[in-house]
Symmetry: D5
Subunit: 149 residues, 10 copies
């Protein structure tokens, strides 16, 4: 059993999606929201509006009694300190190895500050490649400059 | 004092770069390698060829006695388990919150496997935006499928 | 599922508040206690008097059988060592970055000692700002001087 | 010996300030920056402009060779995971106990999001009180709303 | 009770295998997959095709309602940070002691990169020896070279 | 700087080997010991006989004053709890994912016990493959049966 | 509640033993195994033969349905990293304080290697002493010499 | 480099002992103290009397300026939380696996209490055995009964 | 919910005590044991005799079926590594800050050894004080001298 | 080497005290402060007035250049998370075992709040006892009641 605990709501949503044969890409069409954002809603890391929740539950043939779960602002964070799942660990490794270099380059281009993880989007694309397809992850966050006071 | 220990080599390289008034973007022009990769070389997270090391040291007006440090395959990993620097922490937070959703979307598009962090590139772009400039981070890694045997 | 475990009592109180359409600000009017203190009571981090507990349960249309839960002196502390929820993490980050500077300034003004977290109040205000509203957190604790003996 | 490592630069700045008999409040007058921000500069958690660094060093009778240390964007974070110093620990305790309640109240007032720790100020005031003076800490950060995409 | 949590699915599969008197070696014959891979499927660390899942459940006299559990791409990772079970700990010890030496030898033979744990097979053989039988573990992974960009 | 501390002896040995242009494979020829074992001697994880130490130092053009360092029985263990270097981490990941399955298969073949990490050898081979060369790691340890008493 | 989780099987065995008024010493007579080994079987840290399991359950008036639990090779390890129970902690303290000295003396007598914890027995005796009885713990493990290869 | 830091005093004592060709057993004859206790003195985990310190230094041809180091009551504890050295780890493993069983047997024989690690001796013997010599470790500590008050 | 898990037995005892309106001081009168010891019995950190257990249950109007729970020698230790409850944390802080000073003073008065936590009593008194009542904690443990052997 | 790092100032003070043959009890007479408080000053956990520092240095025949070290408000906390020194560990164990019981008794006597560790004194007495002398530790801290607001 893995060290990420999956809530009953997440389990229900994933099962319904499987049953309906829908992909996150299909849900992107239905909801008008990006597939990654929708997946983060499945994992209760984002909060939907009543209308979005209702549309999603309808698409999954689930009852509206799940609306409160989907519209509550969640207490966020899914994982153990160091993730054991290899797919997720690779992102941790990237931070371990390229974290300081990214800090250097971002600060050189922008000054002292950070990339927001709140005013932020994340997209995943599949890039066909004869030597093996590639995963492309595009993060896009507002630069926030340290305020002096 | 922060919890990331900077090696004397890194300190020397960063100081020389500052003195020469060069940006990582300038070095990108000179070396023909991406600025993030060059920054990872500064932090001894990547290994250069003899030729690349020599070109870099020349550009920085540093002696060739640093070549071995730059061409050795490094023992990698820069940071404490949970990073305290806010810029780097945000990437850890992204993994905490969007890790499982990314796993869902990547696996839906590709099957059971991971995005390689080895056959991998990382680019950083500045996106002008009237509401505040944005940081764009593009990760691009080969998809590796779990082998069955 | 996040790493903060919410007790059944907290869940019941939050659900009742939502059902009644009450804010913590409304409860402040009813109970004559600050909204943050009331929220800390919801999370079983503070203890109410019998009378306060009774008033609160009445306002929430909940039965008096919860009075003992609300009046017991709680074993306090809600979270994992490093919080993963971004809103709470930011306060941890503030302590990481401004902890020593605050220590310098407080000790310069008051001498060797601490700000009490027991004889202590905490208020949260919304400050309207055309560039984006601001959160104002006011902590107010008695200064306690180290006793020499 | 405490678990917070103080860098040689911090030690030099604090010693010079003591020698000159200056308080952080005095430096506030000279630099036109808040005393807490200046203390964070002493601890290399903030970066000064060349001009601010020069003014500060002048006020402390220190040479300009420290300018690069003060103007470099620092790798931030001062402390061990759980701080042992009682003054700093109390802020950690406040987060442990009032973290979730603050989250409830902030989100009720503002929606799903966080208080920025970057577009952020922190002030410390002494409040006279016959029963014992009080420490007032005022944090003020821009509210950042979670972006949906 | 040990610190590795065994999921109900794993428990069911192991019990059925015991009841049927089958070894992993027998299942290797039936499924056409290696015994270690099959054991990793029992522990929900690998994902089977529908056909493989069906064959396995048939061999174990279990119903097809377990197919979804066996075909889902799992969130991987079984154990606590440092394993307490002596058999598993020995592999951790090998990494502690021979990790850096292996890195030296692999990098000398292949260059800067890693042995893939994804494009990877693992076999276990029993080697008869008059002084005591020996366990032979053969790991075989594709070498992945660090990409420069 | 990585989290594995390299001792001055290791640094000296590695530098001399580089200078002499020798590989671990060359040293295998000279010493009559496996290259991985020799690398473990470099990292002070194994102890040589006086004769082996002397031969090695001779081959590396180093003085005999290092003999005591090479013949002392070392206090073993090189790394942090979870390794950050990607090459070494992959072995940790293999233990996380295939640890319990290996335990099942080994115990099925041998009974209750462990593979010794002391009466143990480890070989690394390069397997040419048109789709990319492969790393082959062969571990071979005596099976130790739990004694009942 | 202590941090060692006791499994239902252990609880059942301990309760039956108490009910029957048997000591581990009595069971030693019945089973022909040492009392410590039997206690380790109670805690599912050792595996019995079918015959031993049957004899034990008979002695405790428990049904044979527990045989599989007692004959399965367990996943071993009972405790948290640093034990909190004072009796067990003292053994941890002995390792903290006398660990390195024991290593010196054992290696001086035997060479580079370890005491096996697998080919191993452990006895506990009560030594009467007018100044207070003494606990005598005798550990006896095969010496395993590091293999060179 | 291992994770146990050896103090300069320990290094000096061990080097002198090696130079003089003395074993801990020889020192036992000279000092009239057990070899394990003497080894614990080498590692500054025990304190000698002036007379014992003087005798030991004399035997090792070391000057009396080390007497204060050997007679000071040390701050004890040598190791990291989980030891990585295999010889020492095996004692940790014994505690992990046989800790609770030992507690059962000791408490059955003595009542609620502990074996003292202070009024305590530890001996190590070599037991010749045709199937491989065995290490015998005898711990002997006063039983301390929990006081009720 | 706090990080100290309260067992069902503790919960039952505390509830019964509240219902009967008894204080630990009252129970001290009834049982002839100190109130702190009785509280430690409530938390299953001490073991009562049959007679004490019976008296206590009678006083609390609880059935005798709890006798085994109260007379079993418990596996001790209540808390997380660093306690989050402020009242308990203060004792941890005292150990952090005054631990080494206490060691100096105790060893100066008694020699190399420890204060027993087993042959030990702990009393709590309320000291009236016009400037605010004071808590007096008196610990009293037998001094145990390190045995040399 | 123990895991508590002793600062050079502490080392100097302890050495001077030893040389002068003074006990902390003697210093109590000279300074008019309790011996434990003075020991905490030695370990830089408390701050002296200029006058106290001067008196202490005079008594120890040390120069006044140490005055700033002794009068600076220290960053407090001496130890690792779980102390390994047996004398200090026993206090940690007391908190582990009697922490919750003390909380119950203190709160029963005083209400919801804590014992201050700031407005606090700590005394150590030697109690002669024919069965073995006893250590008496008296902690005395102001009770602080949780403020409601």
């Amino acid at each position: 059993m893995s060290s990420v605990e999956i809530s009953p709501v997440t389990t229900k949503l994933l099962a319904a999606k499987k049953l309906k044969g829908l992909t996150f890409g299909d849900l992107e069409q239905i909801l008008g929201r990006d597939e990654v954002w929708i997946a983060s809603l499945f994992y209760q890391q984002s909060a939907a509006s009543e209308d979005e929740a209702s549309k999603l539950l309808h698409a999954l043939d689930l009852g509206e009694e799940l609306i409160p779960e989907l519209t509550t602002y969640p207490t966020k964070g899914l994982g153990p300190i160091v993730p054991t799942d290899p797919l997720i660990y690779r992102f941790y490794e990237i931070m371990q190895i390229y974290g300081m270099p990214m800090k250097e380059v971002i600060q050189e281009k922008f000054g002292d500050g950070i990339m927001s993880a709140i005013d932020f989007t994340l997209d995943i694309e599949k890039e066909a490649d004869p030597k093996g397809d590639r995963v492309k992850v595009i993060m896009n966050g507002k630069f926030l400059s340290y305020k002096k006071w």
